[in-house]
Each structure stands twice: as structure tokens, then as C-alpha cells.
């Protein structure tokens, strides 16, 4: 059976005054697929994701959600998309539960769903705490919870674990892995962390300077790349992980 593509990105370009942030990206994300956009600072990840989210408009190219354009379907898409932005600060003096309640109301959802989400992201103990008093990790979890409120068909997370300690990061991964087992949600997440892409995603897209350098499953990526590199460089054996692959592709470290 042919799987339905929930997101299609065709030859999308986007420039700001002096920066050509996205230069001709093509993507196709299937239902239930988890995709990582991996790239260093300034690669164009946020710009790309925000165009898919309908927050920014591409200069050229086409973005289709469930086969349809953003134009004219905004209302419909907003109901099926859940997202977290790279940096959002919620209202300082609202509690965790009140914040969830506020966002739930936008989807016409009641308090019951808020309870569920609070348990899902493990913030029950912080129910009454004001957002301003949460730790960085707890805020990220709240942002994730808000993204999950409407049981989105499409989930878009921009650096959901940046700045978290390894323990908190693993907790977020667990939440997302559970989601993967339990639903057919499609996920695009951006990250600097190889490990995150390896752990969570079945398809990995490496971008830099607004272009896709390489894409495929983890296995594909680690298997194929050696052949390209052999010609240019001395052969060191195939890269054993994404970090090495990235250095081979760009000559730079990902986290620099």
C-alpha cells in the first residue's frame, strides 16, 4: 500500500535581506514518519520548519500539507498541527495547568485533555507552579505538552532538547518514542544533536547553508557516504556515526 505523504516540500527558497537562508529544499514526509533536520547554527532549519508551519512564507516553491496548499486551508491545518518554536516564553505568571488550559481552549478542548498531557510530559508535580519558576527543562516539557494538546497529526518541534541535560533529554525522547508507538503522528524535529536524530528518527536530513547535503535512513547514510568520500580523500573506513559523517561532508563539527 502506498503511504500518504502528509508533508511535501518542493524546491522551496527563502531569502532575508542579505541571507539566502533556504535554497531549494525538497522533502516528503509520510504518515507516522519521524524525520530529523540536522544542521549547524544558521543552516536554515528554523526557517524551513516555520515555512512548513505556515508562520513564514516561501519566496518560491511549494509546501503541501495533506496534499493541500496553506492558502485557503489555514484553519483546517491549524487544527492538525502541533508545534513548538525554537524560543517561546509563555506567560510568566500563569501556572503550568493554566497555560495548558489556555492553549487547550484554542482547540476547544477541556481540562481533561490538559490532565492527560500534563501526565504525559511528567509535569504533574509542577501543576501549580508559575511558568516563571520552572527550570529550562521543565519549560521545554511544557512547550512539548502544549504542542501535543490537540493530538496533532503533524508535529513540528524546533530544537526540543537544546539546553537540556542528558537526563532531561532522554526523558523527552522517551515521551516522543511513546507517541510514536501509540499514534500515527508524523514528526519533524530540528536538532544539532546526532544522538537525538539517531535515537528518534527513521529518516535524517542533513542541511547546511540552506541546502540538503545528504538524506536517508541512518543505515543509508552511514553506509553510502564512504563511496563519495573515497574519491576525494584518503579512505578511513566508513563513518561510524553521524558526527563523523558530518565532518566528512563539511569538514566541520556539527556543534561548533
Amino acid at each position: 500500500m502506498m503511504q500518504e505523504a502528509v508533508i511535501q516540500v518542493r524546491n522551496v527558497h527563502k531569502s532575508f535581506k542579505t541571507v539566502h537562508a533556504v535554497r531549494g529544499i525538497n522533502l516528503e514526509i509520510l504518515s507516522g514518519q519521524f524525520v530529523a533536520l540536522l544542521g549547524p547554527n544558521g543552516a536554515g532549519k528554523t526557517t524551513m520548519v516555520e515555512m512548513i508551519e505556515g508562520i513564514q512564507k516561501p519566496d518560491s516553491g511549494e509546501i503541501l500539507i495533506t496534499g493541500k496548499q496553506w492558502k485557503g486551508h489555514e484553519k483546517e491545518f491549524r487544527r492538525i498541527i502541533g508545534l513548538s518554536l525554537q524560543e517561546t516564553r509563555f506567560i510568566d505568571k500563569l501556572s503550568v495547568f493554566e497555560t495548558l488550559r489556555l492553549f487547550a481552549s484554542f482547540f476547544s478542548l477541556g481540562p481533561q485533555r490538559c490532565e492527560e498531557v500534563m501526565n504525559l510530559v511528567g509535569l504533574e508535580e509542577k501543576r501549580q507552579s508559575y511558568v516563571v519558576n520552572l527550570s529550562g527543562g521543565q519549560r521545554q516539557k511544557l512547550a512539548l505538552g502544549v504542542a501535543l494538546l490537540n493530538e496533532p497529526k503533524i508535529l513540528l518541534l524546533d530544537e526540543p532538547t537544546t539546553g537540556l541535560d542528558p537526563q532531561a533529554r532522554r526523558e523527552v525522547w522517551m515521551i516522543l518514542n511513546k507517541l510514536k508507538e501509540a499514534s500515527s503522528t508524523s514528526l519533524i524535529l530540528t536538532t544539532h544533536y546526532m544522538e537525538e536524530a539517531e535515537q528518534l528518527c527513521d529518516y535524517i536530513v542533513i542541511i547546511d547553508h540552506g541546502k540538503i547535503l545528504k538524506e536517508g535512513t541512518l543505515k543509508d547514510l552511514l553506509g553510502k557516504s564512504s563511496a563519495d568520500i573515497e574519491k576525494k580523500q584518503e579512505y578511513h573506513g566508513p563513518p561510524r556515526n553521524l558526527d563523523e559523517l558530518f565532518i566528512e561532508l563539511t569538514g566541520r563539527h556539527l556543534n561548533e
Binding site: 517561546t88 505568571k93 493554566e98 488550559r101 489556555l102 487547550a104 481552549s105 484554542f106 478542548l109 481540562p111
Partner: protein, 380 residues
């Protein structure tokens, strides 16, 4: 009921109200500050306080008893009135005379013996306004006729000197001090403070709030949901205007209890007018905040708009002190319009007939700015 509680408009209103009420500073600036201001200014200008004036007396012999041979009108006057002799540690000689006055406030005169040069120096520094020198029973008053304080002291003191019985309470019958409710400074001030409060509250509560939420990327996050954009603004404005009702109500209540101010005109008209004024400033506030995500710029814009109105619109003193040509322009400011209208209801007993035109104008101002702001509103 559950449906209402889950509705986005209700949840937005709740969120805004919580945000507001949980910020103690907001309550202070909204409620405490106007009341403190009314106490300070009201007390300073409403009840005439006792004043102390210093009068320089040139030359020797006028303040001390001993010189019997020479004639001195001032000495006779001071002795007869039992002015208290005070000799300072540094040898300065002065006499103090207190003239009580229930209605206009008492005056304490301090007569200081000085030579001409010292007297002039003190005059230039503003330490005294009147210099008397006496020559054989002939009194000469030296003062700057352009200085109203000096004129006043001269008039008061010369009246006292010319009174055959010397101290009797002056003006027992002739002066009727106007402290009737409605003509005092506090009656002028309170409606002005109410209007200024509304303006500031809309500027900071609506404008600044929107800009801050935009800079936190919260606006962007919210419009990435099915939230209706109008609901966001309606909730913010609703909470702010409700808060303004509470703040203004408390201020008026306070002024009624402490200064016995009353509302002479129609209260329903006042409510309508108050809502129109709020609408005008809420509209302006949305317009101001529609495009920037920098709180510093927001700060500047708010000051740019509110400062001139605070100074020119006759909040603390009547704008009729400004040049005549500028008055028609001043009267077109929303704050002037609101303050004039609220004052006319409070003090002059105005009703719907008097305020309906400015009410409609202010509502229109609000709608125009709101619509224009919404057209260019940056959500991202």
C-alpha cells in the same frame, strides 16, 4: 456553563486577568499611586497652610527696646503686638510675629535686622521678598512688583501696619474664601487623575503587553493555533477596561471619603463617557503596538504619545494658561477631550446632552485606530 469555561475568549480573559492581578507592581501603579498623588497634591493645594515670610528691616534701632529717643514706627508696631525677640548665636537680631487666620491661613512674619547689601543678596537668592527701611517714621517698602509673592506680602503687611487696632483678625467679613465643593483644586484634580490613569493604563497595559508578548514570540505561538486573533485583542482590552473601572472607582471613592468630592452630573452619562474614553485609548494603544517587537521602542512610543498629553491636556493645571492660539489644538487631544468631559460631569453637573458629541468622537477615534492597527498588525 462548561462550554463557556472552555471557550477561548473566556480562557484568554482569565489568563489576562490572572497575569494582571498577580503582578503587585501593577496594582500599586494602578491603584496606590493615583491615590497617593491625590493625597499629595490635594493636601498641598486644597487647604491653605500657614506661611512664614521673612522681611528685612534695614538699619539699627528698630527691633530692640533700648533706643527710646528715636521714633520708629516698626518698633512701636512690634512692641505693641508683643513680637518675640530672637537673638541668634551669631548676633543676628530678629522678631517673630504670628498672625493667625482661620480662612486664609496664618502668617508668621520674621523681621530681620539687616544692612542693605545683605538684604539685597538674600532678595536675589529668594530668601526674602520684602525689604523695609524707615526714615524718621517714614516707611519705604522695597520689592519687585513683578513678583506676586512680594506683592502679596507687601499688601498683607501694609494692611496690618495701617490697622489702628493693629492685630485684629483681618478680613473677618470682607473675604469669602472659595472652598466650596466643586471649586477647589482637588475637584479639578480628581477627574484629571482618573483620565490620566485610563490613558496610562491602556498604554502600558495594552501596548506594552502586546509588544512584550510579541518579543517573547508568544504571539507567534498563539496564532499558530486555531485561536481567533480578534479574541486575543478583545480579551486584553476587556480585562484592561474592567481594571480601569476598578481603579477609577477606588480613586473616586477615596476622594469622596477624604475630600468629599461629589459627582454633580449624570452617572449613566459618566459611565458612557468613561467607556468611550477607554475605547479611544485602547484603540490608540493597539495602533502603537501593532508593528514593533522591541520593548525599548514601545517604551519610546508610549512616552512620545502620553507625555505631551500629560503636560498639555490640563490634568494638573488648566490648559487655558497656554497661549490662546494653541488652545484649539490642545482641545482636540483625546486626553483633553476626556478630562474636559469627565470634569464637566463631576463639577458642572453635565449630562448626556453635553457629553454625547465628545463621546462619539472618542469612540470613533478608538475604532479608527484599532482598525488601522489591526490592518498592519504584526503577529509574527
Amino acid at each position: 456553563m462548561n462550554k463557556l469555561r472552555n471557550s477561548q475568549l473566556w480562557q484568554l480573559i482569565l489568563a489576562n486577568a490572572r497575569e494582571l492581578l498577580r503582578e503587585p507592581a501593577v496594582l500599586f501603579w494602578g491603584i496606590g499611586f493615583p491615590i497617593l498623588m491625590s493625597i499629595g497634591l490635594g493636601a498641598a493645594f486644597t487647604k491653605k497652610k500657614d506661611v512664614t515670610v521673612t522681611i528685612a528691616v534695614i538699619g539699627h534701632n528698630h527691633l530692640l527696646h533700648s533706643q527710646q529717643d528715636s521714633v520708629s514706627v516698626i518698633r512701636t508696631f512690634l512692641l505693641k503686638n508683643k513680637a518675640v525677640l530672637i537673638i541668634g548665636k551669631d548676633g543676628t537680631i530678629s522678631r517673630e510675629l504670628n498672625v493667625p487666620d482661620e480662612k486664609l491661613g496664618g502668617t508668621t512674619y520674621i523681621f530681620r535686622e539687616l544692612n542693605w547689601n545683605t538684604a539685597m543678596t538674600m532678595l536675589k537668592r529668594g530668601n526674602l521678598n520684602l525689604v523695609i527701611d524707615e526714615n524718621q517714621g517714614h516707611l519705604r517698602y522695597n520689592f519687585d512688583p513683578m513678583n506676586p509673592d512680594a506683592q502679596l506680602i507687601y499688601l498683607k503687611f501694609s494692611k496690618l501696619m495701617n490697622d489702628p487696632d493693629l492685630i485684629i483678625r483681618p478680613s473677618e467679613t470682607e473675604i469669602q474664601p472659595l472652598t466650596v465643593t466643586g471649586t477647589r483644586y482637588i475637584d479639578f484634580l480628581i477627574p484629571g487623575l482618573v483620565c490620566m490613569g485610563v490613558m496610562m493604563s491602556c498604554m502600558w497595559g495594552v501596548s506594552y503587553d502586546i509588544i512584550e508578548k510579541r518579543s517573547k514570540k508568544l504571539l507567534r505561538r498563539m496564532v499558530a493555533t486555531p485561536m481567533k486573533r480578534s479574541n486575543f485583542l478583545v480579551a486584553l482590552i476587556t480585562v484592561r477596561i474592567s481594571m480601569n473601572f476598578v481603579e477609577s472607582g477606588l480613586l473616586v471613592l477615596f476622594a469622596w471619603l477624604v475630600f468629599h468630592i461629589t459627582i454633580q452630573g449624570s452617572i449613566p452619562a459618566l459611565l458612557l463617557f468613561f467607556i468611550s474614553g477607554n475605547a479611544a485609548f485602547a484603540g490608540i494603544a493597539v495602533f502603537l503596538s501593532c508593528n514593533t517587537s522591541k520593548t525599548e521602542i514601545g517604551n519610546g512610543l508610549i512616552n512620545l504619545v502620553s507625555m505631551p498629553m500629560m503636560v498639555l491636556s490640563g490634568i494638573f493645571f488648566s490648559y487655558h494658561n497656554f497661549p490662546a492660539w494653541s488652545i484649539p489644538a490642545i482641545q482636540k487631544f483625546p486626553l483633553t477631550m476626556m478630562a474636559d468631559g469627565v470634569r464637566s460631569i463631576f463639577i458642572e453637573g453635565a449630562g448626556f446632552a453635553e457629553i454625547i458629541v465628545p463621546s462619539v468622537i472618542m469612540l470613533t477615534i478608538g475604532v479608527i485606530f484599532f482598525t488601522a492597527g489591526l490592518k498592519i498588525f504584526k503577529w509574527h
